[in-house]
Amino acid sequence: MQVNEYKPKIVAFCCNWCSYAGADLAGSNRLSYPAEVKVIRVPCSCRVNPMFILRAFQRGADGVILCGCHPGDCHYTSGNYYTRRRMALLFSMLDYLGIEKERTRVEWVSAAEGAKFAATMNDFVQTVTALGENKRLEDLRCKK
């Protein structure tokens, strides 16, 4: 039997105030999730420019997840509302371009939700693994 060795590349953007702290809490509680997930810390989820996500897919990421504070709890009051609207647009455009909707996700994770962070990442990695490699936007010039 052939063992599936495929490991996806996952970029996770986390806002500093809730989700990054939630990720830290997952660590403090030793709740494991796959090492494929690499977190980039941003001040607020609304700092994430659609360009960053496109860039990730171009560079060969297989999934991008964006985590912020729960609606109403954003450290900057309204940032995550912008995130929600912007990403809804971007993700449907990406879907149209052939990047399946399952490869992108926005999730609200509070600083107290270490368990939710780990569970979300486990689930996301599983979903993306099932989809396999993302070849659609990958810029081959970036490959050595």
Partner: protein, 664 residues
């Protein structure tokens, strides 16, 4: 090219247990820009920090990456370490290889590989870091309190007692707010005036407090520590500093039919008036809508009787400009209008009144000198019906009522019912309620006393209709517990009207760039952890303008807001967060997209000169970020269509470099 030092921490076995730290330090050596790489058991310890300092000096490092625990833990520590060695603290990046690596992975190979990627990512970012210096701004050591109700009064007194100057701007001729109109206060039933008026006198006499009564804020510019405020002093046609408040003019004025708004129109005042005996400042005001002299130049009685020569019919609105370091909104609330609630016959019968009107009827200084008399015929009412939640908790009647619970009505209705039964044991008192909500110290006990000791009839159910019939008011309602329809012949009906923020709060919030919820209550910087601050730095919230509140809550919040103001004014300088937005003027086309999404109003526009072709000069509108106001969320950077807006410390290039490093 940067000269980067990498420092990999073992954190005892916390990291070293699942990450091969030596291998990580070795692997990161070859990353671009790295000139030094080391590992140590505890980087955050004294010895670890020394090691970093030495390396910075020895290798002339221009940036460092510490692979350790979360930046939320020790970023500050390592920034200080860097600063101590002469390196700009913002040239430090942390790779979180503990909480987000060693603690979640069990396999050494997996942990090590991930730690290398995380280190590489941080290095990619540091390569693009630039030294940052936090901006500093001076603080004007004076506060402005807008609204002179109990909230504003308490906030002003607390700030002034700490030694800072405070100005109160009150739109009415006197401070005091709703508390001055209320008779007795739950749950102790002490008289409101007895506890309020001494505080009003304290305000008047405090050497640090200045009152701008009959005044409004018309413009606010600037930012935390440095607000420029324009205050409009409305003409009262009486020289405030000359008037002695003797009240002679208010007795002699021939214009007797002016509705007395302090008594909610239930009696009349003169065209020149002092709202009530203990008003502060105790100065007369002329109502220009009614004064014959002002309207057609015929009269002048008040000027003739005034021995102090305080009357000035030529007075004009005056505009004063003042500087403040902090602003407190304390604009309070008002009961909503009952005009649309026809089912309760409020506009048809004088004997259907609101709870605030009831307070005035029970008040010894009120229109009936404290005797409970029907407004229509001055007779003593025997059967009283109180209706709770009129316009509150009414999602289905949003066009006239409010969705939220007004919070104070259950308690003041119990108070009203109890006071009525106490003073007039011959009365029958009914209270219609949806729920009785009495969380609070001594609150439920208070309500139970109304029911058990004073025999108030509490009926769970809503009133469907009130119809005037002869001298009586027929109240039709349902009793949900007995499951029957009721018809009560009442003499007086009292409506516990929902409360809403003052109408002037919305334009004020716009001036302050403070945010509001859909109900026009001011929103707090954080609903749980920063309840007395507005999201706009330097603007604080006190009292019922933030949400429905009773006196104890209002006063606690007023004190809390004062302590925040004192904390701010105690500083000589404010150091900002250097990770703020910055606009590239060459790229900006002045489209205003950034300004629209900024939650703080930190972005303004200026016309700037640029060199055009052939030695011409072009003038272009460009965005400018006020670094003292910007909190660094970065929302504007995404809204900017031309890519002119960027965030220092989290620049687009830096984040893209991180993305690249992860996806490599």
């Amino acid at each position: 090219m940067q000269r980067i030092g990498v420092f990999v921490c073992w954190c005892g076995s916390n990291i070293a247990g699942t990450v091969d730290v030596v291998k990580v330090a070795e692997a990161l050596k070859n990353e671009p820009g790295v000139v030094h790489s080391a590992n140590y058991q505890y980087m955050c310890s004294q010895a670890g920090q020394e090691l970093i300092k030495q390396a910075i000096k020895e290798h002339n490092l221009t940036g460092i990456v510490v692979c350790s625990c979360s930046p939320r833990m020790h970023e500050q520590t390592f920034r200080k370490t860097a600063a101590a060695a002469g390196l700009n603290p913002y040239m430090v990046e942390i790779a979180n290889i503990r909480e987000q690596c060693s603690w979640i992975h069990k396999d050494m190979a997996e942990g090590t590989e991930k730690a290398i990627v995380l280190g590489r990512t941080a290095i990619a970012k540091v390569n693009l870091n630039a030294p940052l210096t936090p901006g500093e701004s001076p603080v004007t050591k004076r506060a402005l309190v807008i609204g002179g109700g109990i909230a504003g009064i308490q906030t002003a007194l607390d700030i002034a007692d700490a030694g800072f100057e405070v100005d109160i701007v009150e739109k009415k001729p006197t401070i005091g707010g709703k508390m001055a109109q209320i008779d007795k206060t739950f749950p102790t039933l002490d008289c409101a005036a007895c506890i309020l008026t001494p505080k009003m006198v304290d305000v008047a006499q405090h050497e640090k407090i200045k009152i701008y009564s009959y005044s409004e804020v018309v413009d606010v510019k600037g930012f935390v520590g440095n607000f420029d405020v324009t205050i409009k002093r409305k003409a009262r046609y009486v020289k405030e500093d000359v008037c002695t408040g003797c009240g002679l003019c208010t007795e002699k004025c021939p214009m007797k039919k002016v509705p007395n708004d302090f008594n909610l129109g239930m009696d009349n005042k003169r065209a020149i008036y002092i709202p009530f005996a203990q008003a502060v400042p105790k100065v007369a005001t002329i109502d220009a809508d009614y004064c014959n002299m002002l309207k057609n130049g015929k009269c002048g009685v008040c000027a003739k009787v005034c021995t102090a020569n305080a009357i000035d019919y030529t007075q004009k609105d005056e505009f004063v400009e003042e500087k403040y370091g902090a602003i407190v909104a304390a604009t309070g609330f008002n009961p909503i209008s009952m005009d649309k609630f026809d089912e309760y016959a409020y506009s048809q019968s004088k004997d259907v009144i609101t709870s605030l009107e009831f307070e005035r009827l029970m008040n010894a200084a009120g229109p009936t000198a404290g005797k409970l008399l029907r407004p229509s015929d001055g007779k003593h009412p025997h059967t009283l019906v109180f209706v709770q939640c009129v316009g509150s908790r009414c999602a289905s009647c949003a066009e006239k009522g409010k969705e939220y619970c007004s919070k104070i009505c259950c308690m003041y209705t119990a108070k009203h019912a109890m006071l009525t039964r106490d003073k007039y044991p011959d009365t029958d008192v009914y209270v219609f309620y949806i729920d009785v909500r009495t969380p609070g110290k001594q609150f439920d006990e208070f309500y139970r006393r109304a029911v058990e000791e004073y025999g108030v009839h509490y009926i769970k159910g809503m009133v469907g209709k009130v119809s005037p019939e002869g001298e009586k008011l027929i109240v039709q309602g349902s009793d949900l517990i007995a499951n029957k329809q009721l018809k009560i012949e009442a003499d007086l009906v009292v409506l516990a009207a929902a409360i809403e923020p003052d109408k002037s709060a919305r334009p004020l919030a716009t001036m302050l760039t403070a945010s509001m919820d859909t109900n026009d209550f001011f929103t707090e910087a954080h609903p749980k952890l920063r309840p007395v601050e507005s999201p706009t730095a330097g603007v604080f919230l006190s009292g019922a303008c933030q949400g429905p509140k009773d006196f104890p809550e209002t006063v606690s919040q007023a004190g809390a807001a004062a302590s925040k103001v004192i904390g701010l004014l105690s500083k000589d300088k404010l150091t900002g967060n250097p990770c703020v937005a910055h606009s590239d003027e060459m790229m900006c086309n002045g489209c205003s997209s950034c300004e629209k999404v900024c939650p703080y109003g930190a972005i303004t526009y200026a016309d700037k000169e640029f060199r055009g072709p052939n030695r011409t000069t072009l003038i272009r509108r460009v965005a400018q970020v006020n670094e003292a106001i910007c909190q660094g969320c970065g929302c504007c950077t995404v809204a900017c269509p031309s890519g002119a807006m960027d965030l220092k410390g989290f620049a687009s290039k830096q984040i893209m470099a991180e993305v690249d490093a992860i996806c490599k």
